[in-house]
């Protein structure tokens, strides 16, 4: 169970996260929505310890992880994929996933084995298979398609065997068809494991169809939370979020 | 370390004053060279590891002009302008090609230019030391004695000239349109391009300005020291130190740091003659550890 209690963070004058509280049920699939700059990525950064919060507390199960380093929090079972793909360009898919597995197990400190012959190579095959990367298993990361790079980013997170998986816009930069393919894959992954999954997504269709619970973030605050149905009918959300969306459409 | 010698000097007005003036002179000449280095880094984002040869060329050009014209002021000016033109060719011909390259490539390009220019200088002017171009006639007078300190008027002239140039440079950077363009280019070159301003022009004019200043430093230094192709080495190293201590890209920081290094050199020569260089690097290490952006460097 991931719990946030009154988490706040500001950058200079901008309050990026304002008094956010959340309780994510174990094994649930959740979505965070909100316009650009709402503070969604910042929230992920706070949970994973990449940046430190100014106030509030964060717990995994009963453990207070507030103020722990990104490194420690990763080892406590929180993994993430990034909005802007964050991979290792010169590594093949196989090498990337193997390296991630070794990183998690402190295996990268080993000087006496050979990386290429490491048993973790076998395990990486499984992760590639469940993320659908088996066909590009030996391709170098920077030569992969955009979609496959996003998948690889997720595969790296999966190698952490996380309890909580945070996906920052897994469908960013994709066409509609590709988006659905991606999100179905994510949903499959979630079903096969008992992870708690949180994803950030702009496509409302996807969000309402896939998520069990939705958080609407607006200017750093939680504007609304609840089941897809309750969010759809929430007047605040319709005013602020959909209103904001419309304005944006007009201006572009 | 000779602490006693240092204390003796600090408590004797004569020694104190003459070392201070000496430090000021070193510091101001250093500022001429280092301000260009820091300016180039701030705007072009590259470290000109070949900055020392600009200083050295300034000295040679001035020497050559002195041979031909016999006029001190004119020779110094020719030296500085000559190096400015050399800088233009250097930037357009070579540096331009490695803006996007990694640090290693940039370092090696500069290393190559140092090797080549050193040899060319040797081919043209020979590998013997050339004698200094001498002090202009009006300064060929007995030194001043202030509190028993021996102070050559020419040193004061160098200090004031450099100070004047520092002020001009400061005005150029803060009060002119060119200055605001340069500062904008340092912060956000893409924005300038979007506004239809030729950033290429800004880049090479900054490089030329930096070269001119280094050449001027070399030409002025040539008035009193003998000229040799390796003369740029130590000033290059000192300019790095100044750039780092002052904050990379900061002219004001370079000014302060130049004074610090000038004084460290001058008084260090009394206190620990064999370790003055080490002392300067120690200051640099401390600044990098405690405040990597330097005294006046801006956060990225």
């Amino acid at each position: 169970m991931l719990i946030l209690k009154n988490v706040t963070k500001s950058f200079g004058g901008i309050i990026a996260t304002n008094d956010v509280s959340m309780k994510l049920k174990p094994g649930s699939i959740n979505a965070i929505i909100g316009p650009n700059g709402a503070g969604k990525t910042t929230l992920f950064n706070l949970i994973t310890g990449k940046i430190k919060n100014d106030a509030g507390q964060i717990f995994i199960e009963d453990k207070n992880i507030t103020g722990l380093s990104e490194l420690q929090i990763t080892h406590l079972g929180v993994a993430r994929a990034f909005q802007i793909t964050n991979i290792f360009p010169s590594f093949s898919v196989k090498e990337s996933i193997t390296a991630a597995i070794l990183a998690k197990n402190h295996g990268l400190n080993n000087i006496w084995k050979r990386f290429k012959d490491h048993p973790a190579q076998e395990e990486s095959k499984n992760i590639a298979a469940i993320t659908g990367l088996d066909e590009v298993f030996n391709i170098q990361s920077d030569e992969l398609s955009h979609g496959d790079q996003k998948l690889l980013d997720i595969a790296l997170a999966l190698a952490m065997k996380p309890q909580v998986l945070l996906l920052d816009e897994p469908t960013a930069g994709m066409g509609s068809e590709e988006r659905w393919k991606m999100i179905n894959r994510v949903k499959d992954l979630w079903k096969k494991t008992n992870m708690t999954l949180v994803f950030i997504e702009h496509d409302m269709d996807i969000v309402f169809n896939v998520a069990q619970k939705i958080y609407v973030l607006h200017q750093g605050e939680i504007l609304a939370e609840g089941s897809p149905k309750s969010i759809k009918n929430n007047q605040n959300v319709i005013d602020a979020y959909l209103g904001g969306g419309q304005k944006k459409n007009e201006s572009t | 370390m000779e602490v006693l010698a240092l204390l003796d000097c600090l408590s004797a007005p004569a020694c104190l004053l003459s070392q201070a003036v000496g430090g000021l002179k070193i510091g101001m000449l250093l500022f001429l060279v280092a301000s260009g280095l820091t300016l180039i880094f701030g705007v072009l984002g590259i470290i000109n590891f070949a900055h020392g040869i600009l200083y050295m060329l300034g000295a040679y050009f001035a020497w050559q002009a002195m041979e031909l014209t016999g006029h001190f002021g004119l020779s110094v000016l020719i030296g500085a302008i000559g190096v400015g033109i050399f800088g233009l060719a250097f930037e357009r011909g070579l540096i331009k090609r490695v803006y996007e390259s990694n640090l290693l490539i940039q370092i090696l390009l500069c290393y190559a230019v140092i090797l080549i220019v050193d040899d060319l200088v040797m081919i043209i002017w020979g590998d013997e030391f050339l004698s200094s171009i001498g002090v202009p006639e009006i300064f060929q007078v007995p030194p001043l004695f202030i509190f028993d300190a021996v102070i050559p008027p020419f040193h004061l002239a160098i200090i004031f000239t450099s100070l004047l140039i520092a002020i001009l440079l400061w005005m150029l950077m803060t009060r002119s349109r060119f200055g605001s363009l340069v500062r904008a280019a340092a912060i956000n070159p893409k924005m300038l391009e979007a506004l239809g301003i030729n950033t290429n022009f800004i880049r090479y004019s900054v490089f030329v300005l930096g070269s001119f200043l280094a050449g001027l430093g070399g030409a002025l230094a040539a008035s009193e020291r003998s000229i040799v192709s390796q003369m740029g080495n130590s000033i290059l190293i000192e300019s790095f130190i100044v750039t780092v201590i002052g904050g990379m890209g900061s002219i004001g920081g370079a000014f302060l740091a130049s004074l610090i290094i000038g004084m460290a050199r001058s008084f260090g020569a009394v206190a620990m003659p064999l370790f003055t260089d080490g002392l300067m690097f120690l200051i640099m290490v401390l600044v990098l550890i405690l405040r990597p952006r330097g005294i006046m460097g801006e956060k990225k």
Partner: protein
Amino acid sequence: MNVSIKDSFKKDAIYSVVSWIALLSLYFIFNDHGIQDIITKVAILGLFAMSLNILIGYLGLIAFGHATFFAAGAYTLGLFLQSDFIIEYNIGSWSIPIALSLSVLLPGILATIVGVICIRLREIYFSFLTLAFQMIFYSLILALVGITGGDQGLMGGFPKPPFLGIDLGIHFHFYAFTTFIVILAVFLMRQIIESPFGYGLRMIRDNHERPAALGFNIRSHQLLAFIIAGSLAGLAGSLQALLDVGAYPEWAFWSKSAEPLFMILLGGMQTFLGPLLGALIFELLNDFVSANTRYYGLILGLVILIFVLGFKKGLLDWIVIRGRKN
């Protein structure tokens, strides 16, 4: 495909032994002190450049003060062999092995101190800090005249007592011993680079932000790499000191750090043996140019320009990439 752990290790071991035998045969084929000495020098410089390439090519850190450790190794060896310690404790025939071990150990300790401070900074700031430490070290060598001989270097030579039947005073023994040590070090480096640790280095080079989110502590990794690179540079320096029977302050000057950078550029940084090839080209260029013209810098500078602006990568990298494409 399924090569066992022992096999790839064994393969490299066999390559190493074969290379050594090949080098020994070259000694007799060429039977010329000039050429034989070039091979020794290339081996030493190659080790120096390869140790630096751990940082540059694999870790992605442009260390600009690597000669610090080279010089530290050289002075450690020289000072130890000159010390009264050897006579006092009657170390005699063990003095060379002990000296060499110390020349790995002390630079390693120095690298630990310098590394802890330097790896906190990135990019140009890292480079500057390594340069600053190097120049402090250089100034210390010049200042501590009583110990180091100041700008004259470590004078007066030192004894090289035979050990285990190896007499480094004999030309062939020296050649065989140096090449053996270098190949051993290269073999070790190969193991390190191909180990999970080595891939950790590549991860940091490729992306220094992501590792933390994979639970990978890059600081300790970087530090260990810095120490390994420093120790091996120390070993190279000590071999150079054995060769020249002395040690000189210029070995700690910044231009000595530029040399291996140049070798890496010449040979290639993405290929394991690239820097070694670079050292060979560098040494041949050196020999050829200084034998034929006074304008050594001019030629060397032009060659660097060709590589920097033309190839943009080292020779071996270039060959390997061409090979992959065809």
